[in-house]
Amino acid sequence: MTGFRVADGGGPVIPNFGHGTACLRNNGWFCPEWVRDHWGDILQPALVQHIELTLIAVSVGFAISFLLALVGFRWRLLDPPLGAFTDVLYTIPSIALFQLLVPLTGLTVTTIEIALVSYTFFVLYRNMVAGLRGVPAEVLESARGMGLTRLQTFFRVELPLAAPAILAGVRVAVVATISVATVAAFVIYYGLGGPIFDALQQPDIFRTELVAAGGLAILLALTADGLLALLQRAVTPWNRVR
């Protein structure tokens, strides 16, 4: 990864309080001209990085959780310990987890991703197992009685019926990851957390940058949630008729 700046290195563009517009001089809550001037060099790259962080974290988290869920679903005895494992990961404060990982993986995006991925396990694993377990007994019995094999039952019955619960988990994971990823700027200047941290480090707090970057994180979360809600509806047409 290149092209991102480190918080204690080159530093972002620091507003010049003396020479800007009246809004900037007064440190207003939202100065559109600053956003316009720094969309290209600060906000947009941070937004793209943030989306990238989230997509990678949720995809990798999904893949690992799915494997864990298959194990916990197939071998019931392993479900409680696996669930407890994801619980414990989730309870570690994010800043502490970043600090724990830095000696191992350094001040890198990898460090951030490891932490973000481990937070997704909790909600993804629980929802996957609950969804698979939630298939009504009579549906499974008729599937078995009709001569579906174990694999056919899984792919044709259990997995599609678990889809609403799994997607609900993905929605929560995405929104939570977008939020937690802002804290990643503790490790390196990356994602929307970068400008937010910069703004907070100004004497007096640079309000426009804080509001702009924070607002983008909120908008991103809302948009992602809305899109996933649409996806959920699209893949579960049978849920709409109730």
Binding site: E138, V139, E141, V157, W238
Partner: protein, 317 residues
């Protein structure tokens, strides 16, 4: 497995659940002739459902044999066995995420039927069970009433034209009026399709209505009596069977015969008698006589023309 109705034989079939005292099904031996409906009935704990599930190997036999058309069920591949036996359960167990068409077409698709043939078969079956082959096809189970769902369940079980049907309290969760209609329709279908059917119920009236033969199981899965409904009602083998069929068994027996079964006297000077069609059951006819304080009815054909006179004495036999 053939698609013609198959003979089903239980030969000393026994199921003992591990860690449980006594057998669930105890040396059960009976033969269901091809094309007949055998009803397993009895109190709970009688092993009816267990006996049924032994046939499609949802529950493995402990000892003894079950044969379909002379071949032991253990000799079939279990998946192939289940795909060639229609299976209907009380809670129906339709796949909620599949349309009615998807549900009914499940086994034919697994069997590799061409898409067009599956489509045609689904339409055929929807019509057969009294649903709309055009509009109901694309609906989801959640959009149907309980009675409609059970019809779809029946259609799904019939989809691959199995020689044998297992029906576990298929009408048990349906209100009495719809249940009676579904029973009638099922019997009408059966006259046409002539499947071998093993049918479980706890309701002796349902057993009498749908069964060509009735097997009464007592606690511990032992066969108490296996006979036609008439024989069971008129000649219960012991107190257990007599108790189970109820003190009104004589009346129940009357429900099995119709006015048309009697030798009717010529219809002279019968104008003032109550008129009843020939397919009226003796039980209903007798009820009319009691109600109207009469001793005879005038039996008519479907068009209403008189066939003859039936007396109270004849009905009671």
């Amino acid at each position: 497995m053939p698609t013609e109705a198959a003979e089903l034989v239980f030969d000393e079939a026994t199921k003992v659940y591990e860690g449980r005292e006594g057998a669930a099904v105890d040396h059960l031996s009976l033969t269901v002739p091809a094309g007949e409906i055998c009803v397993l009935v009895g109190p709970s704990g009688g092993g009816k459902t267990t006996a049924l599930k032994l046939v499609n190997r949802l529950i493995p036999l402990t000892s003894g044999y079950i044969r379909i058309d002379g071949t032991q069920i253990g000799d079939y591949d279990v998946t192939e066995l289940r795909r060639s036996i229609g299976y209907v359960i009380q809670q129906v167990g339709l796949f909620p995420h599949m349309t009615i068409e998807g549900n009914i077409g499940t086994v034919p698709k697994l069997l590799g039927w061409p898409r067009q043939r599956v489509r045609e078969r689904v339409g055929e079956l929807l019509e057969l069970v009294g649903l709309d082959p055009v509009n109901d096809r694309k609906r989801y189970p959640a959009e149907l009433s309980g009675g409609q769902r059970q019809r779809v369940g029946l259609a799904r079980a019939l989809a691959a034209n199995p020689p044998l049907m297992l029906m576990d309290e298929p009408f048990g969760a349906i209100d009495p009026i719809v249940r009676a209609r579904l029973q009638d329709e099922f019997l009408r279908l059966q006259r046409e399709l002539r499947k071998t059917v093993l049918f479980v119920t706890h309701d002796i009236d349902e057993a009498i209505k749908v069964g060509d033969r009735i097997a009464i199981l007592r606690q511990g899965g032992r066969l108490a009596q296996y006979d036609t409904p008439e024989q069971i009602l008129e000649h219960p083998v012991d107190d257990f069977v007599a108790d189970f069929v109820g003190r009104d068994r004589a009346l129940k027996a009357l429900a099995l015969k119709t006015l048309g079964d009697l030798e009717l006297a010529p219809a002279a000077s019968a104008d003032s008698l109550p008129r009843l069609p020939a397919d009226t059951s003796l039980r209903d006819a007798l009820s009319v006589l009691i109600d109207e304080h009469r001793d005879a009815v005038l039996v008519t054909d479907a068009a209403g023309s008189p066939l003859g006179v039936a007396t109270r004495k004849q009905m009671i036999g």
